[in-house]
Symmetry: C2
Subunit: 381 residues, 2 copies
Amino acid sequence: MKANIIGVGSTTFSEHWHYGLREMISYASLNALKSANIELKDVDSLFVANCLGSTINGQNNINAICSDELAIQNSVAIGGGDAAGAYAIAQAANSIMAGQSKIALVIGVEKMSDMPITDITQIASEVTEQEYEASTGATLASLYAMITLKHMKLYGTTDKQLGSVSIKNHSNAVENEIAQFRFKVMMEDIAKSPMIADPIRLLHSAAPSDGCCALIMCNEGSAKEYKDKIQLAGTGIGADFMAVHEREDITTFNSVRSASKSALANAGIKVEDISFAEVHDSFSIGEIISIEDISFTKKGNGGKFIEEGNAELDGKIPINPSGGLKGCGHPFAATGIRQAIEAFYQLNNKAGKRQVKNPKYALTENISGTGATAVVNIYSL
Amino acid sequence: MKANIIGVGSTTFSEHWHYGLREMISYASLNALKSANIELKDVDSLFVANCLGSTINGQNNINAICSDELAIQNSVAIGGGDAAGAYAIAQAANSIMAGQSKIALVIGVEKMSDMPITDITQIASEVTEQEYEASTGATLASLYAMITLKHMKLYGTTDKQLGSVSIKNHSNAVENEIAQFRFKVMMEDIAKSPMIADPIRLLHSAAPSDGCCALIMCNEGSAKEYKDKIQLAGTGIGADFMAVHEREDITTFNSVRSASKSALANAGIKVEDISFAEVHDSFSIGEIISIEDISFTKKGNGGKFIEEGNAELDGKIPINPSGGLKGCGHPFAATGIRQAIEAFYQLNNKAGKRQVKNPKYALTENISGTGATAVVNIYSL
């Protein structure tokens, strides 16, 4: 028995100066309920993913906020760094499969504009290893920069290939109403954008964002009553050494390998069956390594694969049709839920101008830190 | 099909200056494995509860730390304020009941000694409502003080009755090897202890602590192979208005009422069937209100009930035989797991000098903030 998603809702990803956590939670949740055509009283459990609430918003009891705001008794908070959203979906699915929940509301929320970007950079590094990485001053960007340089050295990955990830994702985001960065970028824009951590430039990086996404989930039987739905066909969770320096090969995300392998086995399909994927491009190199480690292409070929257009909407395997983290923005715990929302729209053929042709299986990959953990969820109709 | 606990392990609750999160996690986990006589490789999933890691320890990816330290791929972080421990048990149980996990390791960890107590007081208030409570300077102690005063006014609850909670729990803690405060206190010690927030004194309050507790859980069938085990007979989760000022009656924890009602229904038993309980005495009034709202005694009678000895080890319904939060210390997310460990020892008749006579059902109650949410777990042999 599999869990299904029968409704989705979201705020835009933006700088929501005039909204707090409560307002964003309500907005996304009520929209998800509306989308499924059900009422709040039908929901019997709530799973909320949040990562930075305590450090940025001074709020360290996020499920209590949701319960208070939405009058739902049974709520729980799910963590897991910036992969928290995908984790929450997996936990809600467990609850449904265990028969402990009939209709679950799953929320991912992050409000990152409450602090200046310099503080965010430091706070975000808390998802990396504290004792050996964050405390030395290493940031997510600086660690990803090392990974990028090594990938360039080992496989000849180029600046232009990194740029092609950003160009594609910005282009896809233009058609996504949730996305924060709905404009195209050109190779020269990227080359002129500020250097963050050599060779990573601003336009190779996903920006912190405010966003809240929500899903309604139920069991297979109940889902039959609903028009638009997708099934969570399989989940895989993987882990790697947390600190980059401990990994045998820093250009490989073992967490992603393990998670995608488990998810495919769990869904009973092969990687060739996947129609499109939403992957974790917090930095351009993230998308390149992800598609290698999921095995959409062979190790070292990720940059070339994207540069040659294979990951475009009409390519061999569309990657990040939503615009990805780069085009949508990256409100940490909301990202994993946003990926599921994209799967919902695409598989129901409701993705408008960014619609992928006749998708059968969607794969979403949400990772924490620099690949410390990864959650891969596979969806089908 | 119910989930079972087949092994337990714990650090002592203390100021562990010489250990970090990693060392505490390993120590408790390996002890739990030893207790169940299984190996790390047998564990297929890990659930870790932590509340204050990001604000106190600068570590916002606690399940990645656990996965790294213990080489377990499938891990997830569970929040829920200072009730996170009990939440994690419920999530692990879902995973087992859903058939997604065969042997789960459930960890609750908190390391609070990394910051001075004045900072802890402010940080701990982040589990209350940020916008209307914490940001005004209200602390957990000051909010509980209001609740205490109102309970005194409405029901005639006395200083002496508050003190009798602390006396009992300190007395029980003497026999508990985990406990941080293994010494008896007398009524005059309490009266002489510093005033924290009138009428709450130091010896009415549970101290912040460093601690890590771990459990091994599996399904009913597999549990048969193990000698010592308990079953999670039922779980209930409840919520109330988060901010104290929004509640109709601040001397009632609606979250506890709702959670205990659900848990009893889920277990198919009545409150009279409970042999003993571990409740959330972060402040003495918390134990008094909890036993009222679980219905061990009628509303307003909690102080008298305890003062008259009904909650002693040989009383009508022993409350906090472990020593409770007062005697053991309160490392936030570890507390809910510690309560389950007490249930494990007591139900298997291995609680030594604090053994309750022939217990059949144990009830544990773990609450977040000032009762914003509550998790009640019921255990049986």
